[in-house]
Every structure is written in C-alpha cells, then in structure tokens.
C-alpha cells in the first residue's frame, strides 16, 4: 500500500475541509477501501478516517422514517431492536453481509458510496424508496446509484445518513456466492399500502427496479404470484459465476424468497 497522510478529524467541518484538499479520500470501515489500496488499485495523498466525527453513527426513528447514520456498522443494524421492530427485513439483510468480522467494521455509508454491483444495501435503499442525506443535499436512492461502482456523490461530498420510509412489510432474498459471500442475485421487496417495489442487486451492472416483479406482486403479494414470471434479460449479467439464463431464474427465485421472508417477518 502506498503511504498517505492519515487524518482523524473530530468535527464534520474539519472532515469536509480536509476532504476539499487535493487527492483526499474518506475511510469508513475500510473493508473495501483497504483491500483496494493493498492491491494498489487505489491510492491517495490524504486518508480521512471518519470514525471520530460525532453524530455520524446511530439509528433513530424520525416520524414515519428510520434514520441510520453513515458510520453505523452492519453488525449494529443487524442487532438493533429499533430496526427489528420497524423494518425487520433490513436487519436480516445486514445480518448476512459478508461474515461477522466484516460486519464489525463495514458501514452502511461505505457500502452505498462504493456501490458494488453485488452489494446488498443498494437493493434495500431502492426498494424502500430511501433518501441519502449528504453533507450538502438529499438524494433519492434511485438517483444516487448511477452505475457500476458509481454514485451521484461529488468530490468532497460525504454521506451523513440514510432515511428509510417504514413500509408495511419488507424482505430480502439473497443467493450468496459461496466464496465471496456477495450476492449472485439479491432481491429486496417492500410493500407499503397498495404499492409494491422490488429492487435487484448482483444480477446487473448496478442495482435496478424490476417492473415485472412489482406488477405481479401488486396483484397479489404472494410467492405464487411470481410462479410464471419471466424477466427482460437485457440488464442481466453473464459471467463465470453464473450465466444470464441461470441468473435470470435466480432473480425470480430470490424474489419469491423475499416475499416469503416479508410475510413471515410481518407475522
């Protein structure tokens, strides 16, 4: 790893001011950034560790929304009573990201800022219609995730919180790669009133909504409603882990699992 100047600011103002300098980068849990720096895929002059900035981690209910701070770790979301009460499907998703040691370091802000095409959180944000709060503005999830490893974040802008509307019920189905534990296909479904939203990760270059699945579930929110669904395959990836047909089928199977989970969690 190339060396850098390590900074650990203790206020958000200081963090933003260091980040406005040349070639400065944010460090959250480091579970993606440090491996990339070790492989010399990424380097920077200044590394800004956000772990001492107050107010960036924590989970709170705000009216009809659940607010999760950017530096909140996967393990904390998975274990939170508040998340389990309001959006249990989200707690269950967090409980299956990587392994326990990854969950002890990795954060929601780091995960969504990285926008790995196989990451789990992006599916939850898009299906739940969440908003990403940054140091300068609020961005709807669908506009935040712009492409493979790309987001709407500007240089020097940091994610501060994610705001989730609380649905009636929600669930996630994930088929994890046995080696990396990332999703080969993951589908998050959320039902609020009469509206069902479904978002798919792992299967395309970037998280996307699946209108075919949403339409079928709008008619009847049951696993059976998805029995004869076929997807439009244009966005589906094909690689050595899973070819297009297999992945397309996997998406439907994971969507069924997500609905089963949502119904079960809702009791």
């Amino acid at each position: 790893m190339r060396s850098f100047d390590y900074q650990k600011p203790t206020t958000i103002e200081d963090a933003l001011s260091v980040l406005s300098g040349e070639d400065a980068m944010v460090l959250a849990g480091g579970m993606t950034l440090l491996p990339s720096m070790k492989q010399r895929l990424i380097s920077c002059e200044t590394l800004v560790d956000l772990s001492a900035v107050p107010g960036l981690s924590g989970i709170a209910r705000e009216g009809d929304r659940l607010a999760i701070g950017a530096m909140t770790r996967h393990a904390d979301v998975a274990a939170s009573d508040l998340v389990k009460e309001t959006i249990p499907g989200l707690a269950a998703l967090a409980a299956h990201i990587g392994d326990q040691q990854v969950r002890h370091r990795g954060t929601i802000g780091g995960s969504i800022s990285n926008n790995d095409p196989a990451a789990d959180y992006p599916a939850a944000l898009v299906a739940l219609g969440a908003e990403v709060e940054t140091s300068t503005r609020i961005i709807p999830a669908e506009a935040f995730f712009t492409g493979m490893f790309e987001t709407a974040l500007e240089p020097g802008e940091i994610v501060t919180r994610v705001l989730f509307p609380v649905p009636d019920m929600a669930g996630y189905g994930k088929f994890a790669s046995p080696a990396s534990r990332y999703a080969l296909a993951g589908v998050f479904v959320a039902k609020t009133g009469d509206v069902v939203r479904a978002a798919v990760t792992g299967a395309g270059p970037c998280v996307f909504r699946a209108p075919d699945i949403e339409e079928a579930l709008n008619g009847s929110f049951t696993p059976e409603a998805l029995e004869r669904i076929t997807l439009d395959g244009t966005e589906i990836l094909s690689d050595m882990h899973a070819d297009r047909d297999y992945r397309m089928n996997l998406v439907v199977v994971m969507a069924r699992k997500a609905v089963e989970t949502a119904l079960k969690l809702a009791g």
Binding site: Y6, L27, D99, Q100, Q101, V102, H104
Partner: protein, 157 residues
C-alpha cells in the same frame, strides 16, 4: 506517526508509517507472531484479533485506527504458561486443530461469540465462523471445540 494503544492489557507505543496494517504492526514491529496472515485479502480470518472486545480482521485494519483503543491477540488469552484459556483447552482436547495455522483466528472469533452468546447452537457457531477458513480439519472438530469451550467458559473454568 506515533500509535499508542493497549495490547493485551499493557500500554504500547510504536512509531510506524500511517499505511501500516495492524497485522503487520503486531508481527513486524512488536514481534507478536501469534496473529497469522493467511490470505492478506480479508477472506480467511487467520488474522482475527479483538478490537475493544470485538473480533476484527487485523489484515484489513490500519494500525493508526487502533490508536487509543484496546487490542487483544491470541498471546493475551492464557493466564500463564501452564493455564490456557478454556477455549484453548477445548481446542486441544477436541482435536480442533491440525497444522494450527487458522487456530489463533478461530480462537479469537469463537471467544467473541461466546462472550456475546454464552450458549450458542451448532448453527450459530457455524454462522459466526463463516469468515474463518481452515484447510485441514473439515471444521467438525472445530465446531465441537467451540461448543465445549463455550460450556467451559460458562462454568468459569
């Protein structure tokens, strides 16, 4: 930069480059070679240590990040040369290791589990050790060891 932290209940202070990983700081600067580096790509768990009581992968953690924090390694488990930690005894008694390369990480991860969940089920042990890879044992005896270690820790042995 100067990095000061508590290591196995003793204060240490080391001068190191900011890009130093905790695993390297422990092994190279402090000569504490109990923490192993297997994959160096965050996959195998041989490098697991405790940071403020929680299991983390020290090959994917900057030494700079532990400044002011508490770190425990496998060297900090046994009370003395003759008195192993109950989890270590359980691994020895249940043949939970063959070559022993993965063992420091297995121990640190397992002890974190039992501290949080004193009576884990077999399924919970397997889930928790998802990020710890063993090339020798086939895991059966590791799981057996952790269950026995958990019982011994509950009994306060």
């Amino acid at each position: 930069m100067k990095i000061s932290f508590t290591l196995n209940e003793k204060a240490v202070s080391v001068d190191a480059d900011p890009a130093t990983l905790l695993a390297d700081l422990l092994r190279e600067n402090l000569n504490m070679t109990g923490t192993h580096v297997g994959c160096d790509t965050s996959q195998c768990g041989a490098c697991v240590v405790h940071l403020n009581g929680e299991s983390v992968k020290s090959c994917t953690l900057l030494a700079a990040s532990v400044d002011g924090q508490e770190v425990k390694t496998v060297e900090g488990l046994a009370k003395s040369k003759d008195e192993l930690h109950p989890m270590q005894t359980a691994f020895r008694d249940n043949h939970g290791l063959q070559c022993g390369f993965c063992t420091p990480g297995m121990l640190m991860a397992s002890i974190d589990l039992v501290n949080k969940n004193p009576e884990p089920t077999e399924g919970e042990v397997r889930d928790w050790l998802e990020g710890n890879i063993c090339r020798c044992t086939g895991y059966q005896n590791i799981v057996k060891s952790v269950l026995a270690g958990a019982a011994a820790m509950r009994d306060g042995n």
